[in-house]
């Protein structure tokens, strides 16, 4: 059983004890512990259940590569699933629960899957759940959803805050081991701005644990001095608990800083996402040890040899009293030596190589540790924990030679450089036969905007396998990066190291070499996804030969650890099965982030009110204080209606419509787009932009205009006013102002750049208020200041003047069919002017109205609305707007397209009004059906509803729609089947789309 040693633990502060709970059990650890080391210190080797077979699983690793020890962390607003115990720093009061088991971790019913493993091979889901469909939906899916999967989704709102940092540096160095530190020294010496990030809380990486001697100092001392040196430099910035998450195009990189994960609730942001632009990036990301594939390699107590060493040296935790070491390389002997130094028992070191005589091997032998060469593990014994192993010859089929009792196994299959960040943006890899791993191909680095490599690797991440080689490589990388970033590198020398010579490792992909199917079905490749050697072999046999296919078929290398442990072992098995060399099989694609990062960090401050800016008119506060029921219109908030006391929304809208038709309504139309177009060629330009003529509009007059794109489709509409000889004011839809302004600029900058035209979007410079209804003139005359009579200011004209003391521009335009003045005042006067109108309007029955009333008023008049009657496939001719298309002009945007055969097809659906026979309201978007069926057996459609409302004025449902040959079919009744399942068909008569005041007399008084 694992336990805390009496002494040791370089990262611990034993004077500061911490309490935490695991599955409700109260446990103790020290400051400096990770959750994993604290669990092991408390003898908790069983930490979870596997994904598919619900097998008991323990801690395998000590860092980001951990596949098993995933826990639910925290509670309610700080609850988060799938947190790796190995990268979770312990803090006072931490609460964690294990995942993927029922009813309990110790006793899990799902383990039955384990006994049925023979029937759950790779591709099981695809093979089993082909048919029938109903069985999938009602039987299989609910069961699988309950039994598969990892942690639980959080239910509560995240109570922490998150933020983004933006940083521009010359050299970004990812990884704060000795390679990263030396690279930072070398790059920093040139004066380049350097950012060095390290994912853990401590600097120096593995070197202090592995016991290197650098420049005559212990690794620990060298690291301390290097940090002092770096911190003294103004151009070097260091961040711990900050993981390089991804490398992207043109030197962009993301880093993920876990600011307050270990100090929850202290007021700091929990996570910080660093968005970095670097001229050069150095990945000093180290290497990850590979497991060995032997039967039972997933039983709790089987760990990576390096992790065993880490737990002893960093945390003073012993993984077991009797630890068997199994290896194919010299490095694992360091673990045996560390165990021995801690006073623990190593029954045997099993070395799969035929012989082993390196310096570390001899040191172990000198410590009287039994070393067996050419041997391996036939099987691990135990269920919820290791109880022993059987030794076998590596060369054979696994006949047990000897049984040995032990409670832990330290395995090492060699080391793989962490190439993820190198590969994210296209860095290529080469296969290193000697060390049996992929390493960066230095000639094929990711390239930047200049076509030059912008990522370099340093240290073990390059494939350098000894301390001396690591520091030399890192020193070179640091200098090269500084030079590539435009600095002249100083001739810093790499530190001197006396390396312990190591003998070559030997690739071992299966232990023993000739293991039969029973053993291969117990050899785990991917612990997290429960993928075994036999699964990958099956995938190859079934034709999934591409590594990307085999990955998806078996799920090898998926989920939160993304195959950090399993990748190379899986590839090797696949390549053997395909009789191909490993480099030919290749790797799957490495994608960011390196390890999962929180959604909160990605969102940063952009949540709640800051998610998207809300645009408010200058009159917004009055609306909010007077019962406005708001709706979003683009980024604006506009009153949908103004509710009174006990009114429903619908009642309010109907009251507003009637009052505006009968007395007086007031609309905040400030959101309407307003674009000034000015210059000697402005008229010519607007003639190209609008379908009708704008150059001949007289100063002082207004004209309704339509804009189309080059496809001929209607994109916006609005009233244009000619302000001066060379100035036009173009009104656009509320949602269209920015888009249309951009559209104008596009044509002016990219096509007609020699035309002398200037545009300005002045939408927010003005408050615009529509005074609408039979009493409109009376109100303005009461306020006084300018002549608004029909004679002086007739329909479709505008004038500057003063109303009630406010400088105003008054447009006689109407979107309601009523006598209407749209009055623009400076935005700063908007609120005061609105107030003046409200106060003076009481005697004329004034009521404010909202957007829904506006919609009904316009629909009663048959006025089109962009986005209702148009959907990006409608041309003006479809809407009966030929009167707004100039016949005289030789060209305008969309004119040529409107000549295309499909656009002139007489069968195009055209705008009509529709009245239901029973007076009801047809659902918006409903389709009209004709006789017959199409090739798919569906009813032929002959039209659809584009706008549909209850008209309070006419006391019945009214609708507009596009109908095939519609204008030629006045009076005909057509069918609109409902989709509510009742089979009801609504019958509607085709009528003129102008329902109210067909002659247009009310607006022109």
């Amino acid at each position: 059983m694992s336990t805390r040693l009496a002494t040791g633990g370089r990262l611990l502060d034993r004077t500061r004890g911490l309490e935490f709970t695991f599955n409700g059990k109260r446990l103790r650890g020290y400051e400096g512990d990770t959750l994993a080391s604290a669990l092991l210190a408390n003898g908790q080797t069983l930490v979870g259940r596997s994904f598919k077979y619900h097998r008991p699983r323990g801690i395998v690793a000590s860092g980001a590569e951990e596949p098993n020890a995933l826990v639910n962390l925290g509670e309610s607003g700080r609850f988060e699933p799938n947190q790796r115990a190995t990268t979770t720093e312990l803090f006072q009061g931490l609460t964690a629960t294990s995942q993927n088991h029922w009813p309990s971790l110790e006793f899990d019913v799902g383990v039955l899957n384990n006994f049925a493993a023979r029937f759950l091979p790779a591709g099981f889901y695809y093979k089993t759940f082909m048919a029938p469909r109903a069985a999938w939906k009602h039987v299989f899916e609910p069961i699988i959803r309950r039994s598969a999967g990892l942690g639980k989704a959080p239910k509560d709102r995240d109570i922490d805050r998150y933020e983004h940092f933006h940083s521009h540096v010359d050299v970004l160095i990812i990884g704060g081991g000795i390679a990263g530190l030396q690279a930072a020294r070398a790059a920093g010496a040139s004066g380049a701005k350097v950012l060095l990030v390290e994912q853990t809380a401590s600097w120096g990486g593995r070197a202090p644990v592995d016991g290197a001697e650098i420049d005559g100092q212990t690794a620990e001392d060298w690291i301390k001095n290097a940090l002092v040196d770096l911190e003294s430099k103004a151009n070097v910035h260091l961040r711990s608990r900050c993981m390089g998450a991804g490398v992207y195009d043109h030197g962009y990189a993301l880093a993920y800083e876990r600011v307050a994960d270990h100090t929850p609730g202290d007021g700091r942001p929990r996570h910080r996402l660093w968005r970095i632009r670097a001229k050069q990036i150095i990945t000093a990301t180290g290497a990850i040890e590979r497991p060995l594939s032997f039967a039972g390699n997933d039983i709790p107590g089987v760990m990576l040899a390096s992790a065993v060493r880490d737990y002893i040296a960093n945390y003073g935790v012993s993984p077991g009293d009797r630890t068997v070491v199994v290896t194919n390389n010299d490095d694992a002997y360091r673990t045996a030596i560390a165990l021995k130094a801690a006073g623990l028992v190593i029954p045997v070191i099993l070395d799969a190589r035929p012989e082993a005589n390196g310096a570390l091997v001899e040191e172990a032998r000198d410590l009287r540790i039994r070393v067996e060469v050419g041997k391996g593990i036939a099987k691990v014994k135990g269920g919820k924990k290791v109880t022993g192993i059987s030794i076998c010859a590596q060369a054979g089929e696994g006949a047990a030679l000897e049984d040995i009792a032990c409670d832990a196994v330290a395995m090492s299959g060699g080391w793989s450089p962490v190439v993820h960040l190198w590969s994210h943006c296209g860095g290529k890899l080469v296969w290193d036969e000697t060390n049996a791993h992929f390493k960066p191909d230095v000639d094929k680095a990711p390239t930047n905007q200049s076509g030059e490599g912008f990522v370099k690797t340093a240290g073990t991440a390059s494939g350098a396998m000894s301390t001396g080689a690591v520091l030399q490589d890192a020193n070179d990388a640091g200098k090269a990066a500084a030079k590539a970033a435009g600095f002249s590198a100083k001739s810093t020398a790499a530190p001197r190291v006396a390396d312990v010579p190591e003998q070559p490792m030997a690739a071992v992909w299966s232990m023993p070499q000739g293991a039969g199917i029973k053993k291969r079905m117990k050899m785990w490749l991917d612990f997290q996804n429960d993928v075994k050697v036999s699964d990958v072999q099956l995938a190859a046999r079934e034709g999934f030969e591409s590594v990307e296919h085999a990955k998806r078929y078996t799920t090898l290398g998926m989920a939160t650890d993304q195959g950090k442990l399993s990748n190379i072992n899986g590839l090797a098995i696949l390549s053997q099965s395909l009789n191909a060399a490993i480099p030919q099989v290749g790797t799957t694609t490495f994608r960011p982030p390196y390890t999962p990062i929180s959604m909160g960090a990605i969102g940063g401050e952009a949540r709640g009110e800051l998610f998207q800016p809300v645009r408010q008119t200058s009159i917004h506060d009055w609306h909010a204080a007077n019962g406005a029921y708001f709706e979003p219109v683009g980024q604006w908030r506009r009153p949908y209606c103004f509710r009174r006391a006990s009114e429903s929304v619908e009642q309010a809208v109907h009251r507003e419509v009637k009052n505006t038709r009968q007395a007086l309504g007031l609309l905040d139309a400030s959101t309407l787009g307003k674009i000034l177009v000015k210059g000697p060629d402005a008229g010519k330009f607007l003639d190209m932009l609008y379908t009708n003529m704008m150059s001949n509009l007289a100063v002082g007059k207004c004209r309704y205009g339509l804009m189309c794109n080059e496809n001929g489709f209607l994109i916006d509409d609005g009233v244009v006013a000619r302000i001066d000889e060379d100035v036009w004011l173009c009104h656009t839809t509320t949602g269209g102002a920015e888009r249309i302004h951009g559209w104008m600029e596009d044509w002016l900058q990219c096509e007609w750049w020699d035309w002398k035209v200037y545009t300005a979007n002045v939408t927010e410079q003005f408050a615009q208020i529509a005074v609408v209804g039979p009493n409109a003139r009376k109100l303005l005359e009461k306020l006084g200041g300018m002549d608004v009579s029909k004679e002086t200011l007739p329909f479709m004209q505008w004038a500057n003047g003063v109303i009630g003391g406010f400088d105003a521009r008054v447009f006689r335009i109407s979107f309601s069919g009523e006598l209407s003045y749209e009055i623009a005042v400076a935005a700063s006067d908007g609120r005061a002017f609105w107030g003046a109108l409200i106060d003076a309007g009481e005697e004329f029955g004034l009521m404010p109205y909202g957007t829904e009333c506006l919609h009904i008023l316009r629909a009663e008049k048959g006025f089109i609305m962009i986005g209702d009657e148009t959907d990006g496939t409608v041309i003006p001719q479809d809407l009966g707007l030929e009167w707004a298309i100039s016949k005289k002009k030789t060209d305008y945007l969309g004119k040529r397209a409107q000549e295309r055969s499909h656009m002139t097809d007489p069968k195009r659906w055209k705008l009509v009004g529709l009245e239901t026979l029973d007076g009801s309201v047809i659902p918006d978007g409903a389709y009209a059906v004709g006789q017959g069926r199409n090739a798919n057996g569906q009813r032929i459609t002959i039209g659809r509803i584009t706008s549909s409302y209850f008209s309070p004025t006419l006391d019945r449902g009214i609708a507009m729609g596009l109908v095939e040959h519609g204008p030629d079919r006045m009076g005909e009744v057509i069918d609109f089947p409902t989709i509510d399942g009742t089979g009801t068909v609504i019958k509607a008569r085709i009528v003129n789309p102008v329902f109210f005041d067909k002659a247009g007399e009310k607006q022109d008084v």
Binding site: H250, Y252, T447, Q449, N711
Partner: protein, 107 residues
């Protein structure tokens, strides 16, 4: 995330500051053109694996449109230049020829 230098304001702009506008140097066809010519203008776009000329707008910067010569596969940027150009500047053309000897050439 791409980094393109706006030729007007000189800023090396992040892709998030920019709006993409598709292929550059299209010749506008209009009234009087044949159906095939108009269709070519309206719908047909180059989609090369390699050298591409394209329109970008410094939308969240100076607001100007500009043009860029870029390799769609490696994302190398050969240069940016004003939108008011009938064809790429000679210097950019020469640079592309030097870096991409197989390039079929301008237009």
């Amino acid at each position: 995330m791409l980094l393109l230098e706006c030729p007007y304001c000189g800023v090396a702009a992040d892709e998030t500051e920019l709006a993409a506008g598709g292929e550059a140097h299209l010749k506008r066809e209009t009234v009087g053109s044949l159906d095939a010519e108009f269709e070519e203008y309206l719908f047909m776009r180059e989609n090369p694996r390699g050298v591409h000329f394209e329109r970008w707008r410094h939308a969240y910067g100076c607001g100007k449109w500009f043009l860029a010569a870029r390799d769609t596969m490696t994302l190398e940027v050969f240069g940016t230049y004003p939108a008011q150009s009938k064809k790429p500047p000679k210097a950019i053309e020469n640079l592309i020829k030097k870096k991409r000897p197989d390039w079929k050439g301008w237009a």
